[in-house]
């Protein structure tokens, strides 16, 4: 005996509109946490890659002539070191530009004992033993100091990981709260339809047929809630993106959305529908066990 879905539940349920919005808001908050977590991860990967591919060598000699000579030697050594792609001095103009925000546009750079900086980029995938490199350099360039970006990168990355974990915790809490809301709603929905459910049960309907009717209803509630949430996310992100285009600043990192973020966001309504449906089904099936 095949049992297709039989629609025996009444159409109107006043709280359903509200439930759509509640789920929509939960999906919005969850989605924002997911976006934040994913984007942080992508940014951290970027930092890790750009930092891993480069290091800086400082020549801290105080005497300008000495400094210049040592710098020249260091560059020659570096360029001969296996794995180094480029080694170039950061020239005074660049240096001035870097320092300008802090000390102003002056020609102080010439007078200050600012160390010479050599920017070293490594070949793709190459890692270099830094202390070995420093020893090698210091044999001929006593004032060379090798500086990777590792220390501050580590700090930044652990900050990013902590933020990502917070985002994941938010997602989990949202999921739990959403499921709880659906459980309560499914129970009250069933209670409101108690007479109908009892009659249909008495007429010989299987539990799965009864829970199937609720499940169908909650699937569409979840899907709609998910779509509302997605719309909210899209408008907030779209708004932020538009604002960021107006801000003229080189310091703002370019906001880019990766495909995986977009795909996960687009899946949210369906996933929400499935979670809502499944939760309602389990809730109704359990409640039905109270009936003989």
């Amino acid at each position: 005996m095949s049992q297709g879905p039989i629609n025996f539940l009444p159409d109107e349920q006043t709280h359903r509109g509200l439930l759509n919005w509640v789920i929509g808001i939960m999906v919005f908050l969850t989605g924002m946490a997911i976006v934040a977590g994913l984007q942080l991860g992508i940014m951290a990967d970027g930092w890790r890659m750009s930092a891993a591919g480069s290091l800086t060598v400082q020549i801290v000699a105080v005497e300008p002539d000495d400094r210049q000579r040592q710098t020249k030697t260091a560059i020659e050594i570096l360029q001969k070191t296996p794995g180094v792609a480029t080694a170039a001095i950061i020239d005074d103009a660049e240096m001035a530009a870097l320092l300008e925000p802090w000390i102003g546009a002056t020609s102080l750079t010439a007078k200050l004992p600012i160390p010479a900086m050599i920017n070293v980029t490594l070949m793709r995938g190459v890692t270099i033993d830094l202390s070995a490199l420093e020893t090698l350099l210091q044999a001929e360039v006593p004032d060379a100091r090798v500086d990777t970006h590792e220390q501050w990168l580590d700090d930044l990355l652990s900050l990013a990981i902590a933020a990502q974990m917070i985002a994941a915790a938010v997602v989990v809490m949202m999921l739990v709260a959403t499921i709880a809301i659906i459980v309560f709603t499914a129970r009250s929905s069933m209670l409101a339809q108690r007479e109908t459910v009892e009659i249909v049960h008495m007429l010989g309907a299987k539990d799965s047929l009864i829970s199937g009717a609720f499940q169908k209803r909650f699937w569409s509630v979840g899907l709609r809630g998910g779509l509302i949430g997605l719309l909210l996310i899209a408008s907030v992100i779209g708004g932020l993106f538009a604002l960021s285009l107006n801000v003229q600043s080189a310091y703002l990192p370019r906001v880019t959305f990766h495909m995986e973020t977009v795909i996960i966001l687009c899946l949210l309504p369906v996933v929400t529908g499935l979670i809502t449906m499944w939760t309602a089904r389990v809730t109704v099936n359990r409640a039905l066990l109270d009936m003989v």
């Binding site: 005996m1 095949s2 049992q3 297709g4 039989i6 025996f8 009444p10 159409d11 007479e195 109908t196 009892e198 009659i199 249909v200 049960h201 008495m202 007429l203 010989g204 309907a205 299987k206 539990d207 047929l209 003989v292």
Partner: protein, 228 residues
């Protein structure tokens, strides 16, 4: 078909509503269930249509021990039991037609079968002009007839009726009783709860008589005792 052995039923902590109820209904038999209001007729029927479990005792139905029957078994047993409720228990948001169609749809009947059998039956109980009306627009008697149509539409093995003639005029009552008798003739086991002794006198069927939760079985049609 139905066998009760020392069945007791209590709702909550109070006294038993049914005590030591034992009886046996053969397949295809026809019994009245009589007794004053509050005697426990509806409660006994509830046990038979598997809407509650006895507090004690054994019930066997359709070759199943209810204590050990699985949930799925109970489902298929319910599909073989038709019930006419005292208070109709129609679904208020479904049309007359859909109410009567429901047991067929639950059993997985084809749409053709549903259309044919439901229309035919509703015409027979005089509701052909009310197919698409909601129960709330029907009179008490019309609801009664719709609920009877729902109970018999699947041609159940067991038909239970709780005061089925309470809200219809005599002519319709006769028609409905006639329908029950016809179904009994083709093999349906029939148990009709009533306090209306006219029917009991009219049809020669044995009675299960309840008095304050205790049951006694009375043989068919005892003519008024004549003083010796």
């Amino acid at each position: 078909m139905i066998r009760f052995d020392n069945v007791g039923l209590r709702y909550g902590p109070g006294d038993e509503v049914l005590s030591d109820v034992s009886f046996h209904l053969e397949p295809g038999s026809f019994h009245f269930l009589t007794g004053k209001s509050g005697a426990g007729k509806s409660s006994l029927l509830k046990l038979v249509y598997l809407s509650c479990q006895p507090s004690r005792g054994l019930i066997h139905m359709m070759d199943q021990d209810l204590n050990t029957a699985s949930r799925d078994t109970l489902v298929s047993m319910r599909q073989g039991i038709g019930v006419v409720f005292q208070d109709y228990r129609l679904l208020e948001h479904l049309s007359t037609f859909e109410n009567v169609a429901l047991p067929l749809r639950i059993k997985g009947a084809s749409e053709d079968q549903v259309q044919e059998e439901v229309s035919e039956l509703l015409a027979w109980v005089g509701l052909a002009d009310h197919l698409h009306e909601l129960p709330s627009t029907l009179s008490g008697g019309q609801k009664q007839r719709a609920s009877i149509a729902r109970a018999v539409v699947t041609a159940p093995k067991i038909l239970l009726a709780d005061e089925p003639t309470g809200n219809v005029d005599d002519e319709m009552a006769l028609r409905l009783m006639q329908l029950f008798v016809e179904m009994n003739k083709v093999g349906t086991t029939l148990l009709i709860a009533t306090h209306d002794t006219r029917w009991v006198d009219r049809y020669t069927a044995p009675q299960l008589h309840l008095d304050n939760g205790r049951l006694s079985v009375m043989p068919a049609h005892q003519p008024m005792a004549v003083d010796p």
